[in-house]
């Protein structure tokens, strides 16, 4: 291993925390909603925060909570979490150049705090030639803390306040991803893969809403078309 390229420095952990601050504006409302729904389904504040701390996966938690009951549906909740989070299985390998150089808690801990937002920020860092995986961990840890505390706050609010489903507060979660797409656009070569991904995902979402199959399907179809086109054009490997 090279000594000149830091693999996981304290400075990068702190930089990741700093860079994740604007994203917290989108994590807070999402966490509040999760806490409010938990309260509505009869979970105690301890149970709600424990779920957020151990799962750290908002859309999966919301889906599982929407089918909650007594006794708690163990298998159905696990299945919901697995299906909604399948996209994470595609995200880890993308960060391979960073993660392959890590071992022990730094590797498995970084994977534990890998979420959509800090993964996207890390990918842009990696594409810009940064080699320090501490960024992923730092940004993820701060988001995790905000996520768990926000869930607790939402649970306490749940008894008194209940924003309507279409409230613009919820839009901030989508805004993060739209903004990230602007950064991820690499040029005209992305057009065809993105259009294919959009079409496949929109089609699958109508057939299988409430899962992440459509996200996985759209991403795989778009990426496959991109590689196929690059192969035909250059006879080499893609991007």
């Amino acid at each position: 291993m090279s000594r000149t390229r830091p693999r996981f420095s304290r400075a990068a952990v702190l930089e990741g925390m700093r860079a994740s601050v604007p994203v917290q504006a989108a994590v807070v409302p999402f966490a509040l909603v999760c806490g409010i729904v938990s309260q509505g389904q009869g979970l105690s504040v301890l149970e709600a925060m424990l779920m957020s701390a151990l799962c750290y996966a908002g859309s999966a938690q919301l889906l599982a909570l929407s089918h909650w009951g007594h006794p708690a549906p163990v298998l159905a909740a696990a299945l919901a979490a697995f299906v909604v989070n399948l996209r994470l299985a595609l995200m880890g390998p993308v960060l391979g150049p960073w993660l392959d150089r890590l071992r022990g808690w730094r590797l498995w801990g970084s994977l534990f705090v890998m979420a959509d937002q800090n993964w996207a920020m890390s990918v842009t860092q990696m594409q810009a030639g940064r080699w320090d995986a501490g960024f992923l961990f730092g940004s993820g840890v701060l988001m995790w803390v905000v996520w768990v505390l926000g869930t607790g706050a939402g649970h306490l609010l749940g008894a008194t306040m209940r924003p309507a489903p279409g409230h613009p507060l919820f839009f901030s979660a989508l805004a993060v991803f739209v903004a990230v797409l602007v950064v991820m656009w690499r040029g005209r070569g992305d057009l065809v893969p993105w259009v294919v991904a959009a079409g496949v995902a929109a089609g699958l979402a109508r057939v299988m809403p409430g899962t992440s199959w459509y996200i996985v399907g759209g991403a795989l179809a778009g990426s496959a078309v991109g590689v196929w086109r690059d192969q035909r054009r250059h006879g080499g490997t893609g991007a």
Partner: protein, 100 residues
């Protein structure tokens, strides 16, 4: 501050399933070493993954989401600042919400 055993079991199962996706995908790639064609796809995954996330959400949404997304993208293009883009987009969505 109660802790129901069934709720605890469900949380534990969800946590296991989630970590399986987080670590499992990476672990598989590290162990199996897929062929170059599959590895080349990884370069396209970030963009197509978020397109697949955003487009169905916008298709299911209405004017509020479309105005918010347009304002977010415009702010991000102009400033390259994530905080401003989230603020601009959410404000636009809130404006539509207040008007309707």
């Amino acid at each position: 501050m109660t802790l129901d055993p069934w709720v605890l079991a469900a949380i534990g199962a969800m946590a296991l399933a989630t970590y399986l996706t987080r670590a499992g995908g990476y672990w598989l790639f590290r162990v199996v070493r897929p062929p170059p064609l599959v590895r080349a796809m990884l370069g396209y995954i970030p963009g197509t993954l978020f397109v697949s996330y955003v487009v169905p959400a916008l298709a299911a949404g209405g004017v509020q989401e479309w105005a918010g997304a347009a304002a977010t993208a415009a702010t991000m293009l102009a400033t390259r600042n994530l905080a401003l883009a989230i603020l601009g987009g959410t404000s636009a969505a809130a404006a539509v919400w207040a008007l309707s």
